[in-house]
Amino acid sequence: MTGALLDALLFAGGYNATVVALGCAAFGLAAGSLGCFVLLRGRALIADAAAHATLPGVAGAFILAALAGWDARSLPLLLAGGAISAGAAVLAVGALTRGGRIRDDAAMALVLSIGFGLGVVLVSVVQSLPVGGQAGLKSFILGQAAGMSAFDARLIGGLAVLSLLLVALLFRPLAALCFDRDFAASVGLPVRALDLALLGLMLAVTVAGLRAVGLILVVGLMVIPAVTARLVTERLGVMVALAGVLGAAAAWLGAGLSAAAPNLPTGATIVLVACAMFVLALVVAPRRGVLAFAWRQLRLSLVVARDHALRAAFEAAERQPAAGAIGWPDLGRGAGWSAWQRAVLPRWLRWAGLVAERPEGGVALTPAGLAMARELTRRHRLWEHYMQSAGGLPPEAAHRAADQVEHTLPPEVAMEAEAWLRRHDPARLPPAGGLIRPGEPETERGPR
């Protein structure tokens, strides 16, 4: 199996296999990049409904061809049938929602399932026709890249490349449409035509994917790479390119896997490969990934614990300027450290040069630590005063509320709060040059 997989992936499986792999990859590229626009325009589910509704068209085209005596296995014919019935499905969704009694989500579920049901009935009619090739229809439902001819693969690849070119050509107007339709209309873009073009491209890509991925899962290859790319980047250009590359890689890998293990339906394999990429991105994505999220939370909790400790040390020094060193246990308990923070934070504080061990035992703030602690304490009191003055909170509640905002709000917001206090309640303003150095004569103190 590994040998066959390598052959398929390295284009060593013969001419036909190579063309099929390239055709699938081209489809993945088109589906991934178009999928970004489909996703951002909120058309993912209508694409799914349209894809399910290609079945009656494909089966109907087969029946027509068989009755007319043409080659019923001709892919262009079957795909044309699929495109027609998918287009009818999109119109049907519109017609069902027009009265306002059936919401669009229900309409899509209805069109999807009834269209598929009609297709299933027609497939069972096909089974009874006295022509060959009926079994091939099943590959349109779950996808089967293995039996594809080079001509079919070239047709699919050609359709995909054409859609891709159109996407590249329409990139800017489509981007404007997806982000703000009203704005796009106001700058004179033909938004209705663009929406139609997006629908048409979506149908073309859907139909291109039928043979390889199958109608049930073809929407997966539009949605999954696009969502994966969305996790990784904030920029549309990067997202579209990345989704295209991911889609192509998934299609190529999946087609290779199912060539190596012919039991596996190609569509399901391709979608699972795309899902694996998504899960990977979900874990390691730089800003939106689970790891990045956990790291941010961890860091924030450490920073909060550190700030609490520094403030506790500063306030202890304020109360008893002569006391000098404080023990870690006192510091930790005063700042409410949890067990693992007690293990990590002393090292971090020493390493950052904020505290120094005293020879007589315990620790004391270094000059840098003192400066930081003074600034933190000032900020905390600023918020306390602001909460009391602007929010009318009693002191105890103000202390807790200040604790909730001071660690996460950016400094600009703190400056705004300070400006507010200066305008409305200057008596409460903590001294601008920082708080009094411990040991100096006390002139003005905060509320605590």
Binding site: A109, N263, L264
Partner: protein, 323 residues
């Protein structure tokens, strides 16, 4: 008669009961504006069903229902997690989760070897009504014969139990559901939390998906879930009538669909049965089109004159095309 009892009675009953279960539960989906949930869950329960089948090795309901419920809850959690991390619209996230889980189910069928036993991809796609036969039937007398009835396919009996439970639950929660459906804000304000309700809907829909799985497969079950409720919605504004009409539509859809699929081939001389599960969806589609076009709220008004919306609702009728 014997042939009908042996070959057609069990599938006919299974189709009708499955459509009734799904159709009644579908009202909850439609009225709480969660039709997409039916779409998502019907795809997403597949790996659960396959794993339940693989572990237990039988078509007995409990392991399959357990697997399906686990899969539905996993899908709901995944949808919530991905929505939170990506901040994308729900449709896209649902598309991602349900196509991924459906693909997993399809691959599991092949990998676990379940297809060698009893569960194959065809069953997922089209249902397996024709597998429900009652070989013990010997004439009409068998309907009263306990020994023969004991041989009746277990799937049908399970469906009957599920239907009874569904009706009981709907009757029990009648007022609460009505409130949640028509005035969700008020329901929230008096403490009837939407979260337990959506969990309940989730569980009910996954039970319905399993119950109907052998009858219609995991895609056409969407039609059974959404179509009867939508047909009723197009005909009435009354809460009670909504349920009654959807039940009627579901029964016509199940029985009529099976009937058309079994009779049409003979009439057309095709000599090969049509797919009954697909035909049920088609029958539902015809009823829906009739209800939308000729119903009291459609473009064609009864009596040929334009009527205001506020006018008293005429007696709802099911279109004649249905059966």
């Amino acid at each position: 008669m014997t042939e009908f009892l042996q070959l057609d009675l069990a599938p006919l009953l299974a189709a009708t009961l499955a459509c009734l279960v799904c159709g009644l539960i579908g009202n909850l989906l439609l009225l709480t504006r969660q039709s997409l949930l039916g779409d998502a869950i019907s795809h997403a329960v597949l790996p659960g069903i396959v794993v339940g089948f693989w572990i237990s090795g039988t078509r007995a309901a409990p392991p399959l229902v357990a697997g399906a419920m686990a899969a539905a809850i996993v899908a709901a959690l995944l949808i919530a997690l991905v929505r939170r991390l990506t901040r994308l619209e729900p449709g896209a996230v649902m598309g991602l989760v349900f196509s991924g889980m459906f693909a997993l189910g399809i691959v599991l069928i092949e990998v676990t070897g379940a297809h060698a036993v009893d569960l194959d991809v065809d069953c997922v796609l089209y249902g397996q009504l024709e597998a429900l036969i009652w070989p013990a039937a010997q004439g009409a007398g068998s309907l009263l014969d306990p020994a023969a009835l004991a041989e009746f396919p277990a799937e049908v009996k399970t469906l009957a139990v599920v239907l009874a439970l569904t009706v009981a639950l709907l009757a029990l929660l009648w007022k609460e559901l009505r409130l949640a459906a028509f005035d969700p804000d008020f329901a929230r304000s008096i403490g009837f939390a939407p979260r337990p309700l959506s969990l309940l809907v989730l569980v009910l829909v996954s039970v319905a998906c399993v119950a109907a799985f052998w009858a219609v497969g995991s895609i056409l079950v969407i039609a059974a879930l959404v179509a009867p409720a939508a047909i009723a919605r197009a005909l009435t504004d009354s809460y009670a009538r909504q349920f009654a009409l959807s039940a009627a539509a579901a029964a016509v859809m199940g029985a009529g669909g099976y009937w058309v699929a079994a009779l049409a081939p003979e009439a057309l001389g095709l000599g090969h049965g049509l797919n009954a599960a697909g035909m049920m969806a088609v029958v539902a589609g015809v009823m829906l089109a009739g209800a939308v076009v000729f119903g009291p709220f459609g473009p064609v008004r009864p009596g040929g004159q334009r009527r205001r919306r506020a006018a008293a609702a005429p007696v709802p009728r099911l279109p004649a095309a249905a059966g």
